[in-house]
């Protein structure tokens, strides 16, 4: 049996390792679309900041890790899939047969349609190669404009500031920061914090054009506001890497639609990680959750199924954590609420602390936090295990910051009273 | 046959017969019985009986064998304790 995995991110690597463990006799090939050993995009901001070297971004630190496991790593790109023939077409020429296939090709930056996006000095910061280009142009005092104030932009923001750049962030048409993971209050706190730390945050609409001027790149927003910079980093969202699947017959939506076993609509083809659109634990709908823990869990479960050990996927929990210049924020599950549920909020704007809990049917279903780090993981625990809060529900309504206490008490069977 | 009230407090309370109220039990003794006899009758050692009061008066360890009880006496005993 030959298992082929396309993509060497966390989902692909976890799947390869799981297959090796669960199906020791099978062949495993990991197709890596970028040069060098598999690395983690999550780590790029830290490399950009100079906190770690490029080696520090590797998903597996030991040299020869994959070889020692008998996982064949192949640097190439897949251009097409013939599902009927169980065969892949490769960019470098030739083809590869598989018995079971895992697509874990992840996602890549979406390029907005803005005139001037091709100008020199305009970059994404998604791959190691992108990072090298950005780093080459970065000096203390370099003026950097971040287009987009989503998670990816915000996580790079800190690195740029740490490198001494003078940073401006354009929030686009929403005028909000990290709006896909934080509510308006939390996003507002993050914005105020960034401003207080010397970052310019533009809320004057969507960029309409980028032009080259003598003193740098000039970005015009649709409100007419302009911003000048030496460097522009585009971080306006990501799209799943499914282009090579055109004509394969695979069912696509935002990503590759997968069933409860992470199998696609085609036989013997599975998908995992950012590219997969799988079950969301909280909503019961199929969604793309482009986060590391989901990628790993997808990879593990898909591999088990590929290895012939039927394992249902329980659903992923959308969650994220962000550090913007020392202000730590997190989001979990249905932080935006659920119809018929209840909301509890605590806000201390002066101290940049915020906590929002979403409760439904006596359980926690989502949360936004700003400035809270202790035992933060219990929020996942509470949501995922669907713990009935019992008497703790009322206590949490009075003081939602007692989450960890509630979790531990419930875990010890002290929930009833 | 003098009847004496024996009170065992704190951890020593566990040595009282079941159903004892207010940490006390009545002991019917022979004439000439000493405090030490009563204590040993309940299997209590000198070491456990840190504080022994006969009608509220302290009975030092070396006087327990010579201190006789009479009708209506109360012997109250504590292990080492502290408070404040």
């Amino acid at each position: 049996m030959h298992h082929v995995i396309i993509g060497a991110g966390p989902a692909g690597v976890t799947a390869a390792e799981t297959l090796r463990r669960e199906a020791p006799a099978d062949n495993v090939t990991l197709i890596c679309g970028e040069p060098g050993p598999p690395y983690s995009r999550m780590a790029i901001p830290y490399a950009l900041a100079g906190k770690i070297g490029e080696d520090g971004t590797r998903l597996r630190q030991r040299d020869g890790h994959f070889e020692s496991l008998g996982i064949a790593v192949r640097h190439d790109r897949v251009t097409a899939i013939d599902a009927a023939a169980h065969r892949l077409t490769l960019a470098e020429g030739g083809s590869l047969a598989y018995d079971r296939l895992l697509i874990a090709t992840g996602s890549s930056p979406a390029r907005p349609s803005i005139p001037g996006l091709d100008l020199p000095g305009v970059h994404a910061c998604w791959t190691l190669e992108d990072m090298r280009k950005v780093t080459a142009q970065l000096r203390p005092g370099t003026r950097v404009l971040l287009l987009g104030a989503g998670f990816v932009s915000c996580i790079i923001l800190q690195s740029l500031v740490q490198r001494g750049a003078v940073v401006t962030v354009s929030c686009g048409s929403s005028g909000r920061m990290v709006r896909s993971m934080m509510d308006e209050t939390a996003g507002g706190l993050i914005m105020a914090w960034c401003r207080a730390k010397g970052v310019t945050v533009l809320t004057g609409g969507r960029p309409s054009a980028i032009t080259s001027a003598a003193s740098g790149l000039l970005t015009t927003l649709d409100s007419g506001l302009t911003a000048e910079s030496d460097l522009i980093i585009v971080g306006t969202g990501v799209k799943t890497n499914t282009g090579f699947l055109a004509g394969s017959g695979i069912e696509l939506d935002e990503g590759i639609l997968v069933d409860g076993w992470l199998q696609s609509s085609l036989p013997d083809i599975y998908a995992a990680g950012d590219v997969a659109q799988g079950l969301n634990l909280c909503t019961g709908a199929r969604e793309v959750h482009a986060i590391q823990p989901t990628a790993v869990e997808h990879g593990r479960v898909a591999a088990l199924n590929m290895a012939g050990k039927p394992t249902p996927f329980g659903g992923s929990l959308s969650m994220n954590t962000l550090d913007t210049l020392g202000l730590i924020s997190c989001s979990f599950g249905l932080w935006m609420g659920k119809e018929g549920g209840e909301q509890v909020r605590l806000l201390d704007a002066g101290r940049f602390r915020y906590l929002r809990l979403e409760l439904f049917d006596g359980r926690l279903v989502g949360a936004n936090t700003v400035g809270m780090t202790n035992e933060i993981g219990v929020i996942r625990g509470l949501i995922q295990t669907r713990i009935r809060l019992g008497g703790w529900l009322e206590r949490l309504k009075r003081d939602p910051s007692r989450l960890a206490e509630a979790y531990v008490a419930c875990a010890q069977g002290l929930a009833a009273e | 046959m003098p009847r004496v009230t024996l009170k065992l407090f704190a951890l020593l309370g566990a040595r009282l017969p079941p159903g004892s109220v207010a940490n006390a039990t009545e002991v019917v003794t022979a004439e000439g019985t000493c405090v030490a006899d009563i204590l040993s009758g309940f299997g209590l050692t000198d070491r456990e009986c840190h504080l022994v009061l006969l009608n509220g008066n302290f009975v030092p360890v070396d006087e327990r064998a010579s201190t006789r009880v009479t009708e209506g006496d109360a012997v109250a005993v504590w292990p080492p304790i502290g408070g404040g």
Binding site: P10, T14, S40, R41, M42, A43, Y46, K51, I52, G56, T57, R58, L59, R60, Q61, L281, I291, Q292, P293, V296, E297, R300, T311, P312, F313, G314, G315, S316, L317, M319, N320, T321, D323, G326, I328, C330, F332, T373, N374, E375, I376, G377, V378, I379, R380, G381, Q384, T385, R386, G391, R395, A404, E405, Y407, V408, A409, A411, Q412, L414, E417 | -
Partner: protein
């Protein structure tokens, strides 16, 4: 045989000697806020609960780490944070459903219980026997293990 922390909340008085011992072991100072074991005071139920990583087999933190900074110590079964590799991304802190791996803003890294390399300071410091270090098989600290299992996504989905 692997050993584990056996925690008996009913014996805990909430004195925090464990927290001090833990922070002293790691930092040579007494600093409960930096302890990897925390005592919860469930005041409304008159119960103190020492709480730390159970070294769960799911190893959520380890799998969530994007840079291979959390690894299993095979001799002890502990999941150990390697400070030289940790970038402080905090993904493990949201991934661990027990909340027992925490970010330390002073060091810029995460910290969790590593059983002090096989001689846990908290157990030695506990005056009441609420925390002991025993053979894993006899722990009956099944409660936490049971909890770990419950937190598995698959199980959760079927509940």
């Amino acid at each position: 045989m692997q050993r584990a922390l056996l925690i008996l909340p009913e014996k805990c008085t909430g004195c925090r000697q464990c927290e001090m011992a833990c922070s002293f072991e790691k930092d040579r100072s007494f600093n409960p806020s930096k302890s990897r074991i925390r005592v919860f005071d469930i005041h409304s139920q008159a119960r103190f609960i020492p709480y730390t990583c159970t070294q769960c087999s799911q190893a959520w933190c380890l799998h969530a780490c994007p840079v291979d900074a959390i690894r299993v110590d095979l001799s002890l079964g502990t999941k150990v944070v390697h400070d030289s590799l940790c970038v402080g991304c905090k993904v493990c802190t949201i991934a661990c459903p027990f909340g027992t791996i925490n970010y330390n803003a002073d060091s810029g890294k995460v910290a969790k219980c590593d059983l002090c390399g096989g001689d846990p300071a908290c157990a030695k410091a506990c005056p009441t026997g609420a925390i002991t270090y025993v053979d894993a098989e006899q722990t009956g600290y099944g409660k936490m293990r049971h909890w770990a299992v419950k937190t598995d996504t698959q199980t959760a989905a079927q509940v």
